[in-house]
Amino acid sequence: MRATKNAKAEVLPNSPASAKPEWLKKLTDGKYLMILVLPAVICLALFYYFPMYGLIIAFKDYKPFIGLLNSEWIGFDNFVRFFNYKYCWRIIKNTFLLATYNLLWNFPMPIIFALILNETKNMRFKKTVQTVSYMPHFYSTVVVVGLLTMLLSPNGGLLTRMFASIGIDASNVLYDSRWFRTLYIASGMWQSTGWSAIIYLAALTNVDPQLYEAATVDGAGKMRCLWNITLPSIAPTIITMLLLNMGSIFSVGFEKVFLLQTPSTYETSEVIATYTYMQGLRYTNYSYGAAVGLFNSIVCFILVIISNYISKTVSETSLW
């Protein structure tokens, strides 16, 4: 029993355990913890780190029948092939623009929504609005895209009819590449604004009400309070959320793009993820698909590191 006590415990001066090196002590003292962590480590290894190891196929000419290890090394050929692909630039641009516009529109929305909702003093109304606004978060992507497709259907979709009644022809919106980004971002806004606002609402409830009282006594108006008290108080939350979102500035949710795109919108809707899927899994160019995917992950990773570094120096908020 004594040996299982940690080093700080008072009883240990001449215990044999204290003579052992620390790792050996952990091995005996923590052996049950090691058993407990085993399933998680196995999952981590099999479904996260094994695929990372599998990324070496990006530098090989992987042929399933000769196996991973026997396939020939080809260096950066797959990357060169991607950069020479005639639509390469279009795909990169689409990914970047879709993700950037999405961030520009859908990052501020939950903050604005939370700020407005926070002003409401009627608690029951506040609760109702919140409950209703979370709901779409739980619909699957298939449901959201299905709903969007049906509401905008040229054959009598509800929104198409509503637009028609005020003289706007919206019958081609789903098949028009100019509208793809708008649809993607607007449906994202509908689905996630309420849910993403939770974290800001929580941050807002932690703001000390005395600050507002003091400011009001000093003659500060509503906007002044918002600018000088509310926003600085929730700034760390905003920055942390922004950092978490920065990694996604170069990646888009595969599912929704895949479900929402039609061949007629490829001009704006073909992104790296859908291209990877098409090349890597549909046409089974595994190595090439893995290379394109790896390129995407690396760019995302670099963006997170850069933005974290900037945030660390500017505001002392960082992810790690």
Binding site: M1, K26, D29, G30, Y32, L33, M34, L36, V37, P39, A40, V41, C43, L44, L46, F47, Y48, F50, P51, M52, Y53, G54, L55, I57, L68, I116, L117, E119, T120, F125, V129, V132, S133, Y134, M135, P136, F138, S140, V142, L147, T149, M150, L158, W190, A202, E255, F258, L259, A273, T276, Y277, L281, Y286, G289, A290, G293, N296, C300, F301, W320
Partner: protein, 297 residues
């Protein structure tokens, strides 16, 4: 300090919030109405947010009977339930044991390293193609384990649980030790029974994720008899795979025609019904989960 009620700000705020409510609820009411309406009304396009039968307000469950009697949907529904139950159970097992051990990095050999390795997966991964190949190499392709297991462990959920477990009172753990319990016993008899909230929260996150999963099953399953609901939903709603479906089965002798939109909307409603049914009761857990997760671990 009594505030004046009807300022311009108050009016604008309420307009905005009511607008949000309408925008959020409207599509759902429309789906419900169309799926409950008579087919003539649906085809004429006269249904908005109230169900109609022959031009008057009324409802029929005919479309739902038709949808639920479809064997394809029935199988998919059963598959989804199986995947959700197994996936949630696997996740709770892996996460609660792992997170408990990792909440004691000072006593666990390599605990700090594992925590860092978990962090890394939040920002970098193998990607679609290597993951797919690994599933194949592991022999999981086209088995239900390919759908159930990869989602069991996730960095985000693990960190939420770890944060929660690290707040468990040390004195209680010590007293458990004095009673001769090892770490597994402490977790099972002392920690887990008082961790209902976090287990419910994470369980619900995983369950909703499994229920709505589309991409994994699309990649890792090959036969439609294993397909979950979301894949069938996509076939019906987005690809309009309705041969012998919208037109009613003549074998039953019925010459009923079902409006395509009613069938699609009814299928959607059927697929989200379980979530809607439990949602009001479980909402607080979902919200709590986001809150625990926001505490930096």
């Amino acid at each position: 300090m009594v505030e004046k009620k009807f300022t311009i700000g108050w009016v604008l705020r309420n307009i905005f919030l009511w607008f949000i409510v309408v925008v959020m609820v409207f599509p759902f009411l429309h789906m419900l109405s169309v799926s409950l309406s008579g087919n003539v009304d649906v085809m004429k396009g006269s249904v908005s947010v109230l169900p109609m039968i022959n031009g008057k307000i009324g409802a029929t469950l005919g479309t739902y009977k038709h949808v639920l009697s479809n064997p394809l949907i029935f199988t998919a529904y059963r598959n989804t339930i199986v995947y959700t139950v197994l996936g949630t159970a696997a996740a709770l097992f892996v996460l609660s044991t792992g997170a408990y051990a990792l909440s004691k990095p000072n006593r666990l050999l390599g605990g700090k390293t594992i925590n860092i390795l978990i962090m890394i997966t939040m920002f970098f991964g193998g990607g679609m193609v290597p993951t797919f190949l690994c599933i194949k190499w592991l022999g999981l392709y086209d088995t239900i384990w390919a759908v159930v297991l990869p989602g069991a462990f996730s960095a985000y959920n693990c960190i939420i649980m770890r944060t929660f477990f690290s707040q468990f009172p040390k004195e209680i753990e010590e007293s458990g030790k004095l009673d001769g319990l090892n770490d597994i016993g402490i977790l099972w008899y002392l920690v887990l029974p008082t961790s209902g909230a976090v287990l419910a929260t994470i369980g619900l996150f995983v369950a909703v994720g499994q229920w709505n999963a589309f991409f994994g099953p699309l990649l890792y399953l090959n036969g439609s008899e294993k397909y979950p609901l979301q894949l069938i939903l996509r076939q019906i709603v987005l690809q309009s795979v309705m041969d012998n479906f919208a037109s009613g089965d003549s074998a039953a002798g019925a010459n009923l025609q079902y409006a395509e939109n009613s069938v699609k909307y009814a299928t959607i409603i059927v697929s989200i019904l379980p979530i809607i049914a439990v949602y009001p009761f479980l909402q607080k857990y979902f919200v709590k989960g986001v809150m625990i997760g926001s505490v930096k671990g």
